[in-house]
């Protein structure tokens, strides 16, 4: 699925355009030294009963554990060990080691020094790339040289068009940013500076839009940052 984003330009016009992921990925394969193909697989080493955690719980005394390991091989389940796992689902395990089907997701907040501040339940947060309300031009322009030293942009998307009208919209936006050699903040809220959520209940990002023109060509890129470049002890 291609993502979309609803953007607004400096003149207050808005348009819904496309976001292309642009991170380059390497296609790798594996083979033997003499060129024969191999496939990767995962095999089971231990079950829930033979896992070291379970053994430590069953034999709290290290001497008892050592004796049990020598005498009975409780760390090996001969029926299961070595089998290929095949497709797996990710699950949560509760405090007793059983599958927890309805965990309560809680947000833990931290002080500047990294100690826990409080916990609060997580509400449902919808993705807001395409907002129901027209987005707001934030007007926050930051020079590229400055912004790359403030934020760590972990997600990068190329903004692209599907038709000529969208291209004209993006061209003027790119022209505006290109002339100022700056990036503009994009986001939610009444000032257009709020967090960007790409997925429902996903992480919050700060978004910045970069625009360049080269003759008749444009390059508009959305950069998303999850956090500022700062050290814990440097926080106020």
């Amino acid at each position: 699925m291609i993502r979309q984003i609803r953007l607004v330009d400096h003149r207050g016009r808005d348009a819904t355009v496309l976001l292309l992921p642009v991170r380059m990925t390497e296609t790798r394969q594996s083979q033997t030294l003499d060129g024969h193909p191999v496939r990767h697989l995962r095999r089971l080493k231990a079950t829930a009963d033979t896992h070291p955690d379970a053994l430590y719980a069953r034999y709290p005394d290290p001497d008892d554990l050592a004796r049990a390991l020598i005498d009975g091989d409780p760390e090996i389940d001969r029926q299961a060990v070595g089998r290929a796992t095949g497709p797996c689902d990710r699950v949560f395990l509760d405090g007793d080691g059983h599958v927890c089907y309805a965990p309560v997701v809680t947000e833990v907040r931290y002080h500047a020094d990294g100690t826990e501040r409080d916990r609060r339940p997580v509400g449902r947060r919808a993705a807001n790339l395409v907002s129901a309300q027209p987005p707001v031009w934030s007007g926050v322009l930051v020079p590229r040289r400055e912004i790359v030293r403030r934020l760590a942009f972990s997600r990068v998307y190329q903004v692209t068009h599907q038709d000529a009208l969208q291209f004209d919209f993006l061209y003027e936006l790119a022209q505006y940013l290109h002339a100022r050699e700056a990036m503009v903040q994009v986001g939610s809220g009444r000032q257009g500076r709020g967090p960007v959520y790409c997925e429902r209940n996903g992480p919050a990002y700060r978004g910045f839009l970069d625009g360049r023109i080269n003759g008749e060509a444009i390059r508009v890129v959305l950069y998303l940052a999850a956090g500022e470049l700062t050290l814990p002890e440097a926080r106020p």
Binding site: M24, P37, A84, R90, P203, A226
Partner: protein, 212 residues
């Protein structure tokens, strides 16, 4: 927390940088946990297709040939899409590397940040410190462990300190009016790889099946 040392050469001298991974939780100042009915923190695990729970650390990676025979890891080489073996590049620790730059910010903007390290200067050349303080950005090779890929890292400073950003290259194209988005071509290329800062998407991906 693992600390790494990166030695870099600049024309005025050599610097040794002590690198400490920046904790994403502290940077963001919040994270999410899943609690069970008694309020205890849940652990994540896997469940096989036939319902067996698999705890962290209970899996072993391996390779097998088309006949199902296990192939020792030492006999396996990585290749590119065309089947050409990829060269294993050594880790960057233990020998000095040339610092390229200053590079323009556009160079960094052509990458996505994968990991952030805080730099504690073990020994920092005064000219390099001054240059970083002026806002210059440098590029350097950085591989914490031997690897077949060679993503760059960028060294920069701000008011809070000096940072090394490990980055992955991005493909940014110039688009013209006629170059409309070929939607079909990109339909399956949605970004699924975890990015730096995406760790808390974990809980939202409970139902994603993983091909082992």
């Amino acid at each position: 927390m693992m600390t790494l040392i990166l030695e870099v050469d600049v024309p005025t001298g050599r610097s040794a940088l002590l690198l400490t991974p920046v904790d994403r939780i502290v940077l963001r100042r919040h994270h999410r946990v899943a609690l069970d009915a008694q309020g205890r923190v849940c652990r994540t695990a896997w469940r096989t297709w036939d319902g067996m729970p698999v705890l962290p650390g209970a899996l072993a990676d391996g390779y097998e040939d088309p006949d199902g025979a296990t192939v020792p890891r030492g006999d396996v080489v990585a290749t590119d899409a065309q089947g050409r073996p990829l060269r294993q590049l050594p880790a960057t620790a233990g020998r000095p590397h040339r610092l390229e730059g200053p590079v323009p910010p556009d160079d960094l903007l052509a990458h996505a940040v994968m990991k952030v390290y805080a730099v504690t200067a073990h020994h920092l050349d005064p000219a390099l410190r001054h240059s970083l303080g002026q806002g210059d950005i440098y590029r350097v090779a950085f591989r914490p462990r031997p690897s077949t890929s060679d993503p760059p890292a960028f060294l920069l400073a701000n008011a809070h300190g000096i940072f090394l950003l490990q980055a992955a290259p991005c493909r940014l194209d110039w688009l013209t009016r006629e170059q409309r988005m070929p939607v079909d071509l990109f339909a399956d290329e949605e970004e699924d790889m975890p990015a730096w800062g995406d760790w808390l998407a974990d809980y939202a991906e409970m139902s994603v099946e993983v091909e082992a």
